[in-house]
């Protein structure tokens, strides 16, 4: 199979209400943008119209049925007042550098970016569209021309504002940079389009956490895009935490390019949303890069999460390591699709992929698919997947030691995910994500 397959698109005949409902919004965004961005938005909108809404006949969307989204009368999210400031503050930690967006709009009130450490820029995109035009144009280029991913095009066409983070050469940022996208819809069936640009220069070091939280139980649609560039010899930790409303649909794409000898630790935690799709693609554009792509999902009721990872090894002597783990209960459904490409030049690649599940319910379902396409001959690539069920002998053993079934399930679930959390390099983020995860685990059984 050739890599061409990746960019293949399937024309869809299915209804796409987004095109009708967001036509005006698209024009408005174009009008409000500087020339270079207006062009990108125009191209992206045309691209989205051309590709259309993917259906389950499309290989990449086989298990993620978008028909409910295609039929919904979605509209742009208006600015809705926060009912209780405490709801937002709960997610803010004074120790961090926080940049907060409410329904896709930058919130000066909740952000703490006035006194930043040396070598760090954190601001909202709208402020720097002119000043940083060249750099942004380069970052956006990836998503405006022939992008295979319709929801990246859609976001480019429609995003209102976003986060811009720049870590200068040699800067070592000790505080966590926390981007928080809060969705608190005024009415149901609204859509938000969070956008993030994260650029780390050479020999720098930083940890970035991007959180998606929902403050209502309404149904809404989040379509997020995060573009990341990791400079030479830089260590970047990028953590994504998705805890949207249990009725929401979340489709997020993270795209990373890594320069020589850089280290990336990317981790994705998915506990929210009725349906969530996480795409992450990493391109090793320099020699000697090291990429960790880990993920965790904890699902109950009829939640669905679909993780698509792609590592494109384009240079020699690179390593990548993927570990995705999921705990499923009730009728939940998890999909994992892990692509590893090793280009002809990328000799001495060492790539590893593992996808593990713990099934607590009898009606949950997992579809897992490794996809390795290797065009170099001196490489080491391994992959595997496991599905374990709750073992009744284990539960009985707990019970004979005074621990009831619910606590046993909690302890086993926690035991299942602890190794992946313990690995996270940033202690502060590890603590935050552990707390969020434990809350979810505590209501699993």
């Amino acid at each position: 199979m050739s890599t061409e397959g990746m960019t293949m698109t399937v024309k869809s005949q299915s209804k796409n209400t987004l095109l009708e409902n967001f036509k005006d919004e698209s024009l408005r965004r174009i009008q409000l943008s500087p020339a270079w961005l207006a062009q990108a938005r125009q191209n992206s909108w045309s691209r989205f119209a051309e590709i259309g809404m993917p259906t389950t006949r499309h290989e990449e969307w086989k298990y993620f049925n978008l028909s409910s989204l295609a039929l919904k009368a979605l509209r742009p999210c208006g600015e809705s007042p926060i009912k209780d400031v405490k709801d937002v503050k709960e997610y803010l930690d004074d120790q961090d550098i926080n940049i907060v967006f409410l329904n896709g709009v930058f919130s000066e009130e909740f952000s703490s970016i006035s006194a930043l450490p040396k070598g760090l820029i954190v601001t909202n995109l709208s402020k720097i569209l002119e000043a940083r035009a060249d750099e942004l144009r380069d970052m956006f280029k990836r998503s405006s021309v022939n992008d295979p991913e319709p929801f990246v095009s859609l976001n480019t066409a429609l995003y209102r504002d976003g986060a811009y983070i720049r870590i200068e050469d040699k800067a070592v940022i000790k505080q966590v940079i926390h981007i928080i996208h809060v969705t608190t819809p005024d009415v149901k069936d609204v859509a938000v389009f969070p956008r993030t640009v994260l650029i780390a220069g050479g020999s720098a070091k930083a940890s970035v956490l991007e959180s998606f939280v929902g403050l209502s139980d309404e149904a809404y649609f989040v379509n997020a895009v995060t573009d990341i560039h990791v400079g030479e010899n830089t260590t970047l930790n990028y953590y994504k935490s998705q805890a949207d409303s249990m009725k929401a649909m979340h489709i997020g794409s993270v795209r990373v390019s890594q320069e020589a000898n850089s280290q990336l630790e990317a981790f994705s935690l998915a506990v929210g949303s009725h349906m969530a799709r996480n795409n992450i693609s990493v391109s090793s554009d320099g020699e000697g890069t090291d990429s960790i792509l880990d993920g965790l999902y904890v699902l109950r009721a009829n939640q669905e999460v679909d993780n698509h990872t792609l590592i494109d090894h384009r240079q020699p002597n690179c390593t990548s390591h993927q570990l995705y783990k999921g705990i499923l209960n009730d009728q939940s459904h998890a999909v994992f699709n892990g692509k590893i490409f090793v280009q002809p030049i990328a000799q001495k690649t060492n790539s590893y992929q593992l996808n593990k599940h713990l099934l607590l319910g009898k009606d949950c379902r997992v579809d897992t698919k490794p996809q390795l396409e290797i065009f170099a001959d001196d490489v080491k690539c391994t992959h595997g997947a496991t599905i374990g069920q709750l073992n009744e002998d284990e539960v009985f053993y707990f019970q004979t030691r005074c621990i009831g079934r619910e606590d046993a399930v909690r302890m086993l679930s926690r035991g299942f995910v602890d190794d992946i959390l313990d690995k996270l390099r940033d202690q502060n983020v590890r603590g935050k994500l552990s707390r969020l995860l434990l809350k979810k685990i505590s209501i699993l059984s």
Binding site: N391, E394, Q399, T400, R401, C402, G404, M411, L412, G415
Partner: protein
């Protein structure tokens, strides 16, 4: 302390216990011997409350603090909190859960049940380590996931550690001696002997007389085809060792 009357039990469609009677008083050590398949492990699992076995007739009465409890009405964890402890013949591996966490959760469940205050992690750590020392266990052991990658002997020793920590009223040891070398067996036996008090009781299920050299039973039973067919003092174990079971069965 424990009185089993006319116990009948089956697993799926196979009848295993067929009218078993057993009475154990506080302060006593009982040994239950018997050929393979006679129902020894089944008896221990039923006392502990394994959900796969169905009790079709009979009763198990358990007396604790002058209060009589129908054990069959309790969930396994409730029985455990009342002081019933089963040392497994094949201890189960619990991946991802360190022994320290597991033991503390078990211990604190008993504290809560008794209305006592839970022990804080530091005090508990000291308490567990003192027990580990008695059983000559390695310090690192407590941080490892329960029974995962333990040798057969380590698993058995871990069962005895759990028993020592939880300090049960009624301990049932299901073939704890099998798979143990002689040194480990001595240590395990010592652990059991330390537990022996006037208000505790121990039931040893064993194939061999060997263990009984180190733990002196007050009463020895022979279980065959789902019933106790012979009950005597400790000399019965020697007779069985010498002559096998045939003379009892015929």
């Amino acid at each position: 302390m424990l009185e089993i009357k006319n116990l009948h039990a089956k697993i799926k469609e196979t009848q295993i216990l067929k009218g078993l009677n057993l009475k154990v008083n506080a302060g006593e050590v009982h040994a239950i011997m018997g050929p393979n398949g006679s129902g020894k492990s089944t008896l221990s699992k039923i006392i502990a409350g394994h959900p796969e076995y169905e009790v079709t007739d009979g009763s198990i009465e358990y007396e604790v603090n002058f209060k009589k409890i129908n054990l069959l009405e309790l969930q396994p964890e409730e029985r455990a909190r009342e002081g019933v402890f089963l040392a497994f013949q094949y201890p189960v591996e619990i991946p991802g859960v360190p022994s320290s966490v597991f033991l503390r959760a078990a211990f604190n469940a008993i504290c809560r049940h008794q209305g006592a205050e839970e022990m804080d992690p530091i005090d508990f750590d000291k308490y567990v380590r003192s027990k580990m020392k008695l059983l000559e266990m390695d310090d690192k052991f407590i941080d490892r996931p329960v029974n995962v990658d333990f040798s057969g002997g380590e698993k058995k020793r871990n069962e005895i550690l759990q028993m020592a920590v939880l300090n049960p009223r009624l301990a049932i040891l299901d073939e704890t001696d099998s798979g143990l070398d002689i040194d480990s067996m001595k240590i395990v036996a010592e652990g059991v002997n330390k537990l022996k008090k006037k208000d505790n009781a121990v039931i040893l299920i064993t194939h061999y007389q060997r263990l009984l050299n180190y733990i002196q039973p007050d009463v020895v039973h022979v279980l065959y085809d789902g019933k106790i067919i012979k009950t005597e003092g400790k000399e019965l174990a020697l007779k069985v060792e010498d002559r096998g079971y045939d003379w009892l069965i015929k």
